[in-house]
């Protein structure tokens, strides 16, 4: 078995070359880089979360108590940028680095040096983003959508944000090129495209989305930069430009971006649910096609972020119909996951709990998305807390719980140690309850007409805001359990089995020991016989 082969070079682990510090700067090993991505994302997740807690503290009761409105606006802006570009995307890339080579039987990523670079250019980006709070004029305070002309009023902090976005975009593009090349070229014999685990499939499609849209964002923010400093008028009506054009360009990036934030999580869930149902994923091929359909549709729905701009009726109708269509492939995915559980043999370890939480809560987010897709109804909900509730329902239980499930699921494989199941269950249940206390009332606030991105509110919104703030602090606390559990696992977890999960069937579980050796496949594995049938 390949198992024994892997042990033969297990001694490699600490043997080579540089000391720990040189190693983290110069490493080209996909597992090292994956871990760095994951720790970076974990750190950013807590920083972004802390920002959100300042916002919620300000909104605990009406009136201004904690921060000035301009700081509130900056925190709103940077919270979003940190969570999207600093936490969720790097975390997915971290898992891609760890898992894709192992799952397709490759020795490493296709471009190991570029892989190192795509991690390290995120550090100056993060420094620019955080440093922008310290410069005259403060951090960008226009919301993460950076709409002009408001963004042109910002100080140098806005320019730093723009450069940070450039760097993060370059990092994402390099990561994507690496992932696409790895998947298309380095699959071991027998690992045909239609036998790949869903995580590889969703990442392949996500990588194409990134390559298609990141340059668009970079172009948009560069135009902002030249409007701000070099007298151009791309978005300035006085010079013949149009602020609305920025919205079109931004959301042409921005809508595929929300699928970038969720498709890899679909992949994760599509691997974890079958593992704990102990039967193959239901409708594997339809899952692949549904993912591709969602990706393609994501390019023609951006206008649903702009129903209040004043587009003609035909524009509103087109974007409404196109957006509603997304419910079809997304529905197929939900049904397939449930059908996977149907007639299975279910157990409910922590990763499975997070996946079930994902299913329920993400679907609620999908329903509120359907409500918002209706251009007429969107008029009364646009830019209200309903929208805040909607995207936190799809991003927190979607992206974050997907990632959390992945951490619990693969940590035994990465570290060779088992996490604390009791703590994991506490983490899930407190998160699940706190999340709903935080965000469910925000639907009500939005329906009642409370605008988002305001530091203070009219008295009729008090009760739900207070409840939401209490939930938010509980939710923040529950993530400390997560951190504690991860640290505890690494320091003193019990030894994990090579195939920790009975129903797991991808190559990293079936062909490799836990922990995985530093170099996985020194010779090309033959997956023709051993690969699981779908």
């Amino acid at each position: 078995m390949a198992h024994d082969a892997a042990h033969d070079h297990g001694h490699d682990h600490h043997d080579h070359g540089p000391g720990p510090w040189t190693r983290i700067f110069t490493t080209t090993n996909h597992k090292d880089i994956g871990s760095m991505y994951l720790w970076f994302a974990f750190f950013m997740f807590f920083v972004g979360g802390a920002m959100a807690l300042v916002l919620r503290a300000e909104l605990f009761v009406p009136g201004l108590q904690v921060v000035q409105p301009e700081i509130f606006n900056s925190l709103t802006t940077v919270h979003a940028l940190v969570m999207i570009f600093g936490a969720v995307m790097p975390a997915f890339v971290g898992f891609a680095n760890w898992l894709i080579p192992m799952q397709i039987g490759a020795a490493d990523m296709a471009f190991p040096r570029m892989n190192n670079w795509s991690f390290w250019i995120m550090i100056p980006a993060a420094l620019l983003l955080f440093g922008s709070f310290l410069v005259p004029g403060g951090a960008a305070a226009s919301g993460w959508t950076l709409y002009p002309p408001l963004v042109t009023q910002g100080g140098i902090g806005t320019d730093m944000t723009i450069f940070a976005i450039h760097l993060l975009g370059a990092s994402s593009i390099m990561g994507s090129i690496n992932i696409i090349t790895t998947i298309l070229n380095l699959r071991a014999p027998g690992m045909t495209l239609m036998r790949m685990p869903l995580f590889c499939w969703t990442w392949l499609i996500t990588a194409y989305l990134l390559i298609a849209t990141m340059p668009v964002l970079a172009g948009a923010v560069t135009m902002l930069l030249t409007d701000r400093h070099f007298g151009t008028s791309f978005f300035n009506a006085a010079g013949g430009g149009d602020p609305t054009m920025f919205m079109h360009i931004f959301w042409f990036f921005g809508h595929p971006e929300v699928y970038i934030l969720i498709l890899p999580a679909f992949g994760i869930v599509s691997q974890i649910i079958p593992a704990f149902a102990r039967k193959p994923l239901f409708g594997y091929a339809s899952m692949v096609y549904a993912t591709a359909s969602i990706a393609i549709l994501s390019f023609i729905v951006w206008g649903h972020h702009m129903f209040t701009v004043g587009m003609p009726a035909a524009g509103n109708l087109f974007f409404m119909f196109a957006t509603m269509l997304i419910a079809v492939p997304t529905g197929v995915k939900i049904f397939n996951w449930i059908a996977t559980m149907w007639r299975g043999s279910l157990t409910f370890e922590t990763p499975m709990l997070f996946c079930i939480g994902f299913l329920c809560m993400f679907t609620l987010g999908g329903f509120s998305g359907l409500v918002l897709s209706i251009a007429a109804v969107d008029i009364t909900l646009h830019n209200t807390y309903y929208v805040v509730a909607h995207f936190h329902y799809v991003l927190f239980p979607g992206a974050i719980w997907g990632l959390t499930a992945a951490v619990y699921f693969w940590l035994p494989k990465f570290t060779g140690k088992m996490y604390d199941e009791t703590l994991g269950k506490w983490h899930f249940w407190i998160s699940a309850i706190a999340f709903n206390i935080t965000f469910f009332p925000q639907h009500f606030l939005g329906l009642a007409g409370m605008p988002r991105r305001i530091p203070d509110y009219a008295l009729q919104f008090t009760e739900w805001n207070t409840i939401s703030t209490v939930g938010a602090f509980l939710l923040g606390f529950s993530q400390l359990i997560f951190l504690w559990n991860v640290v505890k696992t690494i320091r003193s977890g019990e030894k994990a089995k090579d195939k920790q999960w009975e129903g797991a069937d991808s190559v990293e579980w079936t062909h490799l020991p836990s922990p995985v050796p530093y170099h996985t496949f020194e010779t090309v594995p033959n997956l023709k016989l051993a690969a699981p049938a779908h």
Partner: protein, 388 residues
């Protein structure tokens, strides 16, 4: 067994919470009562889709929770590994959602078309947004006026400084001058902005329309009942985005005529079309330093204190202090220029809309407050001369 009791406990607690909350009376959970045919359609559409979603949720997650309870390994469930592919099922659950979507799309499209048909207005009002307030121009009647939030900062407070006054029931939603429109008439709004993007949002009237600088977009409503309808700016527009309320008073046709006659005397734009934005006054009048300071303190509190703070110390770096500022204590001309025309690239907006007297007063006040003891006064004539 341990897992099950944990699940049960949490489930019970959560259910109890869900049931307890809506039972309390003051918690709004839905769209406020509609006041126009369009907002009534919006309300109906939302309820229609909400119930469809509830039914789907119950069916789909009924199936999931059935699986969770029925197909547990701990209850001896064996996995049916062959149940992982069915073209027929895939087709069914692609087609059924599609049909449901069509059932939603048809009424929704009808509402969108109605909403976008702003033709044949009875009253047309130009809505001009700015940082941070609104201007309403009834152009056909030569009436135009500003509408600002009326809630004083003493009710809002500041970080570290508690509000000194009790909050009104209409806290943050009260304005000095309301938009007044007649009932059962088609009112067309031409929405624009002079600085950044704002959103004119009054949910009960079914309107949420961005004001985009350099462009005019339209929206319309026909209120079918009289009353006061409130809203706020919906699009983030800088520091005081949260302090840009909107109030629309819908009145009978007779009351509207009365209001309009009164408005014409107060806010006529006919007399001085070139300087429409500047209130009538005697710009040649000379005031004493104390008079200007007293008047200026009020103007400062209403227009400047939010950013530069009541004590003139500002919140640097975004909002620089006026106390000890070189511009404030130096040449009057430079300060007048900044106050009149704003400062490009910063949040300092042009205040040319204020009267010469108010501007002279507030500039004089800043030159003689917060420890700035220049003893200098600026007269309305100086402002008039500096206007471009």
């Amino acid at each position: 067994m341990k897992n099950k009791t944990l699940i049960e406990r949490v489930f019970l607690a959560f259910t109890a919470l869900c049931m307890a909350l809506p039972a309390l009376a003051s918690y709004d959970v839905n769209i406020p009562p509609p006041a126009t045919p369009i907002s009534a359609q919006i309300y109906g559409l939302h309820m229609y889709i909400l119930w469809i979603c509830v039914v789907i949720f119950v069916i789909v997650f009924g199936a999931m929770f059935y699986s969770i309870f029925k197909f547990r390994k701990s209850q001896g469930a064996k996995a049916d590994v062959n149940f992982h592919e069915s073209t027929l099922i895939e087709i069914i659950w692609t087609v059924i959602p599609f049909i449901i979507l069509i059932a939603i799309a048809i009424p929704a499209a009808r509402t969108v078309l109605d909403m976008k048909d702003a033709s044949h207005p009875d009253v047309t009002i130009k809505v001009t947004a700015f940082q941070w307030g609104w201007r309403y121009d009834y152009s056909a009647d030569d009436v135009g006026f500003y509408s600002y939030m009326k809630t004083p900062w003493s009710q809002i407070g500041q970080p570290g400084i508690e509000a000194t006054e009790k909050k009104n029931p209409d806290y943050l939603l009260e304005v000095d001058n309301e938009m007044v429109v007649p009932v059962n008439k088609r009112v067309r709004l031409l929405v624009t902005s002079v600085d950044v993007i704002h959103g004119w949002y009054v949910p009960q009237l079914g309107i949420n329309q961005y004001g985009i600088p350099g462009f005019i977009k339209d929206a319309w409503f026909k209120a079918d009942k009289t009353g006061v309808f409130k809203g706020q700016c919906s699009q983030i527009c800088g520091k005081l985005h949260g302090y840009m309320p909107i109030t629309v008073r819908v009145v009978s046709e007779a009351d509207y005529a009365k209001w309009l006659a009164d408005a014409k005397t107060k806010w006529s734009t006919k007399a001085a079309p070139a300087a429409a934005a500047v209130p009538a006054e005697d710009a040649s009048k000379q005031y004493s330093l104390d008079e200007l300071k007293a008047m200026g303190e009020k103007v400062y509190a209403a227009n400047c204190a939010a950013c530069h703070q009541p004590n003139g110390k500002g919140t640097p770096p975004a909002f620089p202090p006026l106390a000890g500022s070189k511009i404030v204590t130096g040449e009057a001309a430079k300060q007048i220029d900044i106050v009149l025309n704003g400062k490009a690239g910063t949040a300092m907006q042009p205040f040319a809309r204020l009267s010469n007297t108010d501007l002279a007063a507030v500039i004089t006040y800043t030159k003689n407050a917060f420890g700035n003891a220049t003893g200098k006064a600026v007269q309305p004539a100086d402002i008039k001369a500096a206007r471009r």
